[in-house]
């Protein structure tokens, strides 16, 4: 514990708390418009970064299905990690097509790629037994059977037991128990290939939605203002960006950290079974990548988070303090994650709960700032706030 605390302090000390590298001056334009434009490019760039990784994952799982051996399995698992690394960056910047349909320009692509916290292992196992993944309508079936969470189970979990209860058809009828180990493994590989192909298709859809040569949501976001049907004002567009980075609160702090820490929805001392990554052991990495996504919007999308970001709007408005404190909080949260020696949070939860609590505190520091100084200074609305009357 003491060593971890010391590491945290050292990490904080060596963190880059200096202002971000200066960007080339841009003249005569509204800083807000510049940030919208930069964020559009950033999201398209991240989606394009994700696409080849999703395609590699598709190919690797197909290879595993066709020629199962240790090498193809390792390649598929590595491809999963590669793709997930980038997707977790995208998680924190769900704007427009990736976001729910209730949001401006939302097409719900994200939920079809990664449905966390919606996950139902039993439902996946029922699909394994029924071979539901081979059905023509599988790509439009419940998101809890598809996407990265299903893939993680299918590629990484090797146990024989089912998560389904006695009332489930596959348990009551004995069809799960009737599957041989080889058959179960073969079906998992086939199922994984179908899911990975679906993820790859969705990744292409996401790129198409943003790319100038097709859906051109880049233009939609960067030209927010009068005449724009989706974002009639720059403020609406900035608010959508702000809603996106609240991911660190909803999913980050409250789902990925508070629940496993037994601060909510958990009756034991800790609940590792509520961590985001159950089988690939990457809950820590996921959170770090979420912070990368957060910083791409908050600080900038260039190297070392340079370029226009929300911090530039804050600084231009005279609220440098808010920008600086936000950067410090993000670095503190990341440092707390780095300070956990294990690759995953599961072990740390059991052996050194305080270290995970530090991560939670770091995320809470970010969300406290988001919900107070950040939205006050920029006159933004918190997510899902009612667009109603006020006085």
């Amino acid at each position: 514990m003491g060593v971890l605390s010391l590491t945290t302090v050292l990490c904080l000390a060596c963190s880059d708390t200096k202002p971000k590298p200066p960007s080339p001056p841009v003249g005569g334009e509204d800083v807000r418009a510049q940030v919208l434009s930069a964020t559009s490019d950033c999201i398209l760039g991240t989606a394009r970064e994700f696409l080849p990784k999703a395609q590699a994952l598709r190919d690797a799982t197909a290879a595993l299905r066709d020629a199962p051996d240790a090498a193809t399995q390792a390649a598929a698992r590595a491809a999963f990690h590669e793709a997930m690394d980038t997707w977790q960056v995208m998680e924190a910047i769900q704007i427009g097509p990736a976001a729910p349909r209730s949001t401006p320009g939302g097409q719900e692509i994200r939920d079809n790629i990664h449905s966390f916290p919606l996950y139902n292992r039993c439902s996946i196992e029922e699909q394994l037994v029924s071979k539901g993944y081979e059905a023509p309508g599988f790509a439009t079936s419940l998101v809890t059977r598809r996407g990265f969470l299903a893939l993680e189970y299918l590629l990484f979990y090797e146990g024989a037991e089912t998560a389904c209860g006695a009332n489930s058809v596959i348990v009551a009828n004995g069809t799960w128990a009737a599957l041989s180990a080889d058959e179960r493994a073969a079906r998992k590989r086939a199922y994984a290939a179908v899911v990975a192909a679906d993820v790859s298709t969705r990744a292409q859809t996401l790129v198409d939605a943003w790319a100038p040569e097709s859906g051109n949501f880049v233009k939609t976001l960067s030209t927010a203002g009068a005449g724009n049907a989706v974002f009639p004002t720059t403020q609406v567009a900035l608010n959508t960006m702000s809603d996106a980075i609240f991911y660190v609160e909803r999913e980050g702090k409250d789902q990925k950290l508070a629940r496993p820490l037994a601060l909510r929805d958990c009756s034991s001392d800790v609940c590792p079974e509520l961590l985001e990554s159950q089988f690939a052991g990457r809950s820590k990495k996921n959170l770090r990548q979420n912070l990368v996504g957060f910083r791409r919007v908050m600080d900038g999308c260039g190297p070392d988070f340079s370029g226009p970001g929300f911090d530039d709007v804050l600084t231009a408005a005279g609220a440098e303090t808010v920008a600086t404190r936000m950067r410090e909080q993000v670095l503190a949260a990341d440092a707390a994650l780095v300070a956990i020696e294990e690759d995953d949070l599961k072990q740390a939860l059991v052996q050194d709960k305080a270290s995970v609590q530090q991560v939670y505190n770091g995320f809470k520091g970010i969300t406290d700032l988001l919900k107070t100084d950040f939205i006050t200074t920029l006159d933004l609305e918190p997510p899902a706030g009612l667009e109603g009357d006020n006085d």
């Binding site: 960007s23 001056p25 841009v26 003249g27 005569g28 334009e29 509204d30 800083v31 807000r32 418009a33 510049q34 927010a224 203002g225 009068a226 004002t233 720059t234 403020q235 409250d254 508070a258 037994a262 601060l263 909510r264 226009p308 530039d312 709007v313 600084t315 231009a316 408005a317 005279g318 609220a319 303090t321 808010v322 404190r325 809470k364 969300t367 406290d368 700032l369 988001l370 919900k371 107070t372 100084d373 939205i375 006050t376 200074t377 920029l378 006159d379 933004l380 918190p382 997510p383 899902a384 706030g385 009612l386 667009e387 109603g388 009357d389 006020n390 006085d391």
Partner: protein, 481 residues
């Protein structure tokens, strides 16, 4: 005796002048139009609530309701009934407009509108409160005796006159709103720092036409001082016959600007309608005559001799009106009994017409500790509240206390142990860096709710609020990018 319209009154030497002035007949036309406009506004409001899905968001989704002190007994109707209630509001609004079944209509409207406001504190808005009060006053004002279907149905009901007190009561109510809204702006934040206007206007620089103007610092100051002067003085100019037309043009301009710039929904329409009570009583007849290009109709003044001595009912009515007036004047002042900054501690904030005087956002987490096992939980408000409720609760200490009590009951029911509930609440007021709002060491589960000062509210931050610069760069290499 000269009344507000400059007319010579009949001396009624036997009884106090004020009594005869209150009973002096005035043309009903202006109040009839006011009744119609208010009914239309209520109907439109009800339609907005239904079409925008606000009925569901505000009344069906919440799993927990914040109650007004003393109104915890008010039952929450089943959520499936709420759309029907708003349909009823819309229908009643139309009936008020038409003047049909007026007595029942206005009483029902008052009851339903007040219920909708009282059922959850987080729905409180100053202009809804004003509409409730106006409806309450209309319950005593027979504004259906002309220009109404009731008057068509029942000729015996018809009258072109109403006693002066009807107009006085409504004018008093509207005057209270404007004057207190103006006085609430006599603060350092508003006048010296132009906050929160600076924050709001800086976020609207992308608007077409006016956007570039809004980023000028002086505009925020001009709007702040102009708003304060408008609110504090407009009633005087509306009362004075010579300035009234110009004053009403200013009213229209002011509320048009606020409607365009801020998400205040029906508020401008309500105030523009409410200000009509200052018009001279016969203006609708004159307007109609002008539109028809005919001479203005004159209504025969009722003949009456000396005003009789006030009956006991009259005395009771006058006494009730005076009590009402006293409450309306005293309620907004009650915050001074608490001391400190009302925008921070919110004690005495509601019903005091502090309209658009703060930009305040908070982040709240409740720490629950099992009194027996020592186990701790962190409770985020979203576990109990909708986002809208959470936003309101996080900046209002009495709501924080209510939720803390609810959380305590909830955990005690689960754990069967006593629990302690503490709150970590950080609040940003008018752009100041966020500060703790409540003492995080106090067990809120043990704190009583009530009207007394809450010792567990921490003092407000003392520094000046933020001063925002325009975010547009006027030259190459401007700041921030």
């Amino acid at each position: 005796m000269t009344d507000a319209e400059g007319r010579e009154g009949t001396p009624r030497e036997s009884y106090p002048r004020v009594w005869s002035w209150l009973l002096a007949p005035r043309d009903i036309a202006a109040l009839a139009v006011f009744r119609m406009a208010l009914g239309a506004i209520i109907a439109v409001s009800a339609v907005r609530f239904l079409t925008y899905g606000w009925v569901d968001v505000l009344f069906a989704r919440p799993r927990f309701r914040f109650t007004y002190w003393g109104f915890g007994w008010l039952p929450a109707l089943p959520s499936t009934w709420m759309p029907a209630l708003f349909v009823a509001l819309g229908v009643l609004g139309v009936l008020l407009m038409l003047g049909l079944f007026y007595r029942v209509t206005v009483a029902l409207l008052f009851a339903v509108f007040a219920y909708v406001q009282l059922v959850d504190v987080t729905n409180y808005l100053n202009h809804y409160y004003l509409v409730s009060l106006l409806l309450g006053l209309l319950c005593f004002i027979p504004a259906h005796r002309a220009f109404s279907l009731d008057a068509l149905r029942e000729p015996a009901l018809r009258s072109d006159w109403l006693p002066t007190w009807c107009t006085v009561l409504l004018r008093f109510q509207v005057a209270v709103v404007y004057v207190y809204a103006g006085l609430a702006k006599v603060t350092t934040d508003w006048l010296v720092h132009a906050q929160p206007l600076n924050i709001w206007l800086a976020a609207r620089t992308g608007l077409p036409w006016v956007g570039p103007l809004l980023e000028q610092r002086w505009v925020a100051y001009a709007a702040a001082w102009g708003g304060m002067l408008f609110d504090t003085t407009i009633v005087l100019f509306l009362l004075w016959r010579r300035t009234r037309p110009f004053a009403y043009v200013v009213v229209l301009g002011f509320h048009t600007v606020t409607f365009v710039l801020f998400p205040i929904g029906m508020f401008p329409f309500i105030m523009v309608t409410a200000a009509m009570v200052f018009f001279e009583p016969s203006w609708p007849r004159r307007l109609l005559a002008r539109l028809r290009r005919r001479p203005s109709e004159t209504v025969a003044s009722p003949t009456h001799g000396a005003v009789p001595a006030p009956s006991w009912r009259g005395r009771v009515a006058l006494g009730a009106a005076l009590v009402y007036a006293f409450l309306q004047v005293a309620l907004p002042l009650r915050t001074h009994a608490y001391g400190g900054n009302v925008l921070w501690h919110e004690q005495g904030m509601r019903f005091s017409w502090r309209v658009m005087t703060r930009e305040k956002n908070g982040s709240a987490t409740f720490m629950v500790r099992d009194g027996v096992t020592g186990r701790e939980w962190h409770v985020v408000p979203s576990q109990y509240l909708t986002r809208l409720q959470e936003r309101e609760m996080a900046v209002q200490p009495d709501l924080i206390l209510q939720l803390a009590h609810h959380i305590a009951r909830d955990f005690e029911a689960t754990t069967h142990h006593p629990v302690e509930v503490r709150a970590d609440v950080r609040v940003s007021l008018n752009g100041r860096m966020s500060e703790p709002l409540v003492d995080p060491t106090v067990d809120l589960a043990k704190e009583e709710d009530g009207l007394g000062a809450k010792a567990w509210i921490l003092p407000s931050p003392e520094g000046p609020p933020i001063h925002l610069r325009p975010t547009r760069t006027a030259r190459a290499g401007g700041p921030g990018v």
